[in-house]
């Protein structure tokens, strides 16, 4: 029983990470109908960025956090500007390959910049682990879940209360109508890239203290985040969060009760299962589109 509790806690922690990465995918998809294969690299850049600023330059945490978020957002915007917007014939294959190329490029640059070593970052706070019944919770886990929930709240606020957010929502629903109403869809796309990159960066930063950060950490995380998004239903923010936590818990239970070699395949198997049985995801948000 105590094992179960521990696994669930671990699952919730990982699930929060997957949730925020999934949110990045979903929100970009909502605004642009694009799936960014480089999303995982934003996570990696966030983590490594924090490593450099915090462990390397010893900047205070909030400053390092903010600067990293801004930096990675900038990378996202550059990607949109240089790569996405300039494409002349946006056949889905072309866009997929471009983002795959961007993913590889960012990975390669990260390897040049940070080498192949793994780094770590100190915990956000110095509290000791907390005992709950017979399981232990790391304070960092609380940070992770807390920040993710906070981010979700901020996003909701953004969508429902701010003009930019409502505009982006409108673009997602009907791009032509939105542009007829004067909403500049190009700027919306740029903003969407910036925000989804920021979300990735936040995910990378909050996981940095409890994982080994290296240039190749992004691919797997990105993939899992995508699986989570699909699980919940691509196009639904709530689905992304739900999918993330669900994936985290299922994965954790799988590792705990079956075998640790199930860590990677769980997500992919779930993805294939979802694609097979119910491509619109658990919450069945959007109908799976044909291009």
């Amino acid at each position: 029983m105590n094992e179960l509790l521990q696994y669930i806690f671990a699952g919730i922690t990982n699930g929060a990470i997957y949730a925020i990465i999934a949110l990045g995918f979903t929100m970009l998809y909502n605004a642009t109908e694009l799936i960014n294969f480089a999303q995982g690299e934003f996570v990696m850049l966030g983590a490594l960025g924090l490593v450099s600023l915090r462990t390397g330059l010893h900047w205070p945490l909030p400053v390092a956090f903010a600067v990293t978020v801004l930096g990675v957002s900038a990378v996202g915007m550059v990607l949109e500007r240089l790569a996405i917007r300039t494409v002349r014939k946006p056949h889905p294959i072309v866009l997929v390959i471009i983002t795959v190329g961007a993913s590889i490029l960012l990975r390669g640059l990260a390897m040049l910049g940070w080498g192949k070593d793994s780094f770590s970052v100190p915990y956000f706070s110095k509290h000791p682990p907390i005992q709950v019944s017979e399981a232990t919770i790391l304070p960092q886990s609380l940070w992770i879940v807390g920040i993710v929930l906070l981010t979700v709240g901020v996003l909701q606020f953004f969508y429902k209360r701010t003009l930019a957010g409502k505009a982006m929502h409108a673009c997602a629903i009907n791009k032509k109508a939105a542009s007829l109403l004067g909403i500049p869809s190009e700027r919306m796309v740029l903003l969407a890239f910036a925000i989804s990159a920021a979300l990735g960066a936040v995910g990378g930063m909050i996981i940095a203290p409890i994982t080994m950060c290296s240039y190749d950490m992004g691919t797997l995380l990105g993939l899992k985040g995508f699986c989570a998004a699909m699980l919940g239903g691509l196009g639904s923010s709530f689905g992304a969060v739900l999918g993330g936590f669900l994936l985290g818990i299922l994965e954790s239970l799988g590792i705990g009760f079956f075998s640790s070699s199930l860590k990677e395949p769980t997500a992919f198997l779930l993805l294939l299962l979802i694609l097979y049985i119910r491509p619109s995801g658990l919450l069945g948000a959007k109908a799976v589109k044909r291009f």
Binding site: L34, P92, I93, V100, G108, L112, F268, L272, R290
Partner: protein, 324 residues
Amino acid sequence: MALGSAARSPFVIFAAAIVLVGAGVSNSYYLQLLTVIGIYTLLALGLNMLMGYAGQISLGHAAFYGLGAYTSAILTTHFHVSPWLALPLALLLSAGVAFLVGIPTLKLSGYYLGMGTLGFGMIINVLFREWSSMTGGASGLVGIPPLAWGSFVLSRGRAYFYLVWLTTLACFVLCERLVNSRIGRALRAIHDSERAATAVGVDTSRLKLGIFVFSAVLAALAGFLYAHLVSFISPSSFDFLMSVRIVTMVAVGGMASIWGSLLGASLLTLLPEWLHVFAEYEMVVYGLLLMVIMIFLPQGLSRGVIDLFAQRHLLSSLAKRLKG
């Protein structure tokens, strides 16, 4: 028909070139390099049929490459099956897996297929790494027997060069015939507008599945040839980066171009030879290549260059008309 004899001659020329090169090159390192180019060309060709002609993305193609290699390696080392028997088994297994994976994922398009194949590729790679009893795990499988015909060992030097390139040539001919047929046209139609293809009666799901299986079989064939060339394989040769390499070969060489597969495979095999510091910059180079080609020359080098030539021709003939 005139089309038949005209189309045969590039292949005849190519066959002659293969014979000449094989006879002329005696340095064993270069021979092996050229042989590897042949194997990669086969890989790129298969993926090109899927991506270039039918317009479907596969980001996990290294999995089929690996399945071909590992199946034959396991059968020949653990079970002492003759490689010539292992070959059809490897191809069948690859086809079967492609069939099963293709049914659900090909129902979707674009990104979903990309992600589905990516995930599939990762699962297979995990399988290679975790099933150590069979595959040797992360440290790989050694002692793969060479191919032999009676007592004549083929997996060496010139003999293998010819074996690989003649196989590749045969597949070129096969693909050319496929492309210029009712099936090939239907595939290109699916690429341009799946909706319209369905509306003229094409069973798009079935065709897409068929070409997916076909490309998997070609990849498995390449894997077989690779395993018996190098006699040692490990999971790291069949990972996501390898899948990206294959995609890059197709994209750079030219989508929907059979000769483009040759161009792409050659370029990307020779690049590491020319850039000695390549190992460090490999990912950056691939990433940039992919992005730049897709942005500026989405048709790839072979088509893109042809298009450029065609446009120049067009411009100059237009100019002549205007003047005269």
